[in-house]
Structures are given as C-alpha cells and as structure tokens.
Symmetry: C2
Subunit: 122 residues, 2 copies
DNA sequence: ATTATTGTATTAAGCGCTTAATACAATAAT
DNA sequence: ATTATTGTATTAAGCGCTTAATACAATAAT
C-alpha cells in the first residue's frame, strides 16, 4: 500500500510527517522496533535512499534510535513523544488560525465553521 | 519588505498562496489593478520569472485577469472570490482535522485545544 | 562457521525550481 | 511621434530532490 504522497513538497519531508503521525497515534509505540529501511521504502513505494533520509531526520529529532546492525526503534521516552505530539498540534493550530486571520475571518466565524465541520465528520 | 517565504516548498506556490490571502482579505478588492510583474517580484524579493509563474497560475484559476499591455487586475466577480475563499477555508480545516485525527486526538480534545488557543491570540 | 540482514555510502543520471541576463511586441503615457 | 511600461519568451547555469545500481562493514540468525 503506497503512502499518500503529493508532489508539492519534497517526499522525504512527507515521510517524516507521516511516520511522526504513526508514532504519535501509537501505531509504533515507544520502544517498538521499526521495519528495515528497505522494507519501509518498499511499503511507501519510494527509493531506500529517500526513506533513509527521512529516518535520519527523525533520529536527529530524537524520536528514533538506530542500532547499528539490528535496525531502528522508537525512543523509550514516552513523555518526549507526548511533548512532540503536543507541539505539532499547537503548531498546526497556530498556522491554521493565522491563515484564517489573514483571510479576514474573525474568531467567532472560525469557531463556528470548525465546530460545524467537526460534527459533520461524525 | 520581502515576503515570508520558506524553503520547504516551491516559492511560486507560496506566492500563489499569499496573493490569494491578500485577495480574500480585501487588500486587493475585486476589479482592482495589480502592480506589474516586475514590481511585485521586487516587492517579494524573487525573480520576475517566478512571480510571473505564480500570477499565471492565479489567472488559470480565474482569480486574476491579464490585460495584454496594461497589467493585471483582480476579477470583478466578487461571488467567485467569496466561493474560493470559503473553499480554501474548508480545505484548511479538513486537512487540519484529518491530521489531528491521525495523531489520535478525538473531537472533544480538538475543540478544547483550539478554543483555548483562539482565545489566547486575543 | 556460514549466511542473511542491518544501516550506510557512493556515483551517475534526470527532473523541476530558481535565478540572471536579454530580448521582443503591444500599447499606454508623454 | 516618441518613450516608457506592460506581459511574455528564451537560454544557460546552479541547486536540491529522487531514483537506480552497487558496494561495504557489522552483526544477528542459522
């Protein structure tokens, strides 16, 4: 099942984002083992080099740990994951509110629209 | 004043987005004249070719009209602008809600977080 | 001990984006 | 009539991203 990748942004940044979401949602719990670079690359239908680049970025951020020859795993630090999750959520909201503000919506309108849509999604 | 451009996405798409926001917010009202490609390029601190590309995209979307030698202007069709504005807003919200859902937040949490942040921004 | 799997590195090619330097035709401004 | 301004087009260069094809060292699995 190839992942949902658009062409309007570098692929590796999208991989970083999607893997982050999987970590935050518990698809890959703290301490769990990740598939190999090659397997993940095939799963996402990208070149291993590109997946490698995404994983390297995640390691740089401290979310993932590399064990030289036995693959990679998610950090054991659950509170750190929780922190990163909260930060991502806040960044998303801030960016969204800022864009809506620039479009000329005021707070009241924004809240009305979002509650309506949230309910529609069941 | 150079515009706020990041390096994680093509510049021309960011120009499209920012110009759209200016149209939606009324900075450039329906029917109003736009500065020349060269002027806008200098204002945003990008190459004229890049700005040209952004403007061509906006014209393709019908938001802007080109008058061969007397520059460009915003469409007179105010209702069409309003429609595009609403669509952009909904797309933003949908994308945001989807990302939050993938992170594992439920509706109630999302609404709590966003109302809190919206109030903080005054 | 041998084999398979791990992350990692390198090289070459192709692609789109961006910039820079020009040039041109059409026409608005003078 | 002349000049300046408009959008537009072209060419060349550089850059980062992505892929493909390999290769290697370390070590887990057998």
């Amino acid at each position: 099942m190839p992942w949902d990748l658009k062409s309007d942004r570098p692929i590796y940044t999208q991989l970083v984002e999607q893997i982050k979401l999987m970590v935050f949602s518990g698809t890959y719990p703290p301490g769990s083992k990740l598939p190999s670079v090659r397997d993940m690359a095939q799963e996402a239908a990208v070149n291993p080099n590109t997946m490698q680049r995404a994983l390297a970025k995640l390691e740089e951020d401290g979310l993932i740990i590399t064990h030289r020859t036995s693959g990679r795993s998610i950090t054991e630090d659950a509170s750190m994951i929780e922190l990163a999750k909260t930060k991502l959520a806040q960044d998303q909201i801030f960016e969204f509110l800022e864009k809506m503000r620039l479009m000329g919506f005021d707070q009241k309108e924004i809240l009305t629209i979002i509650t309506t849509m949230a309910k529609e999604l069941k």
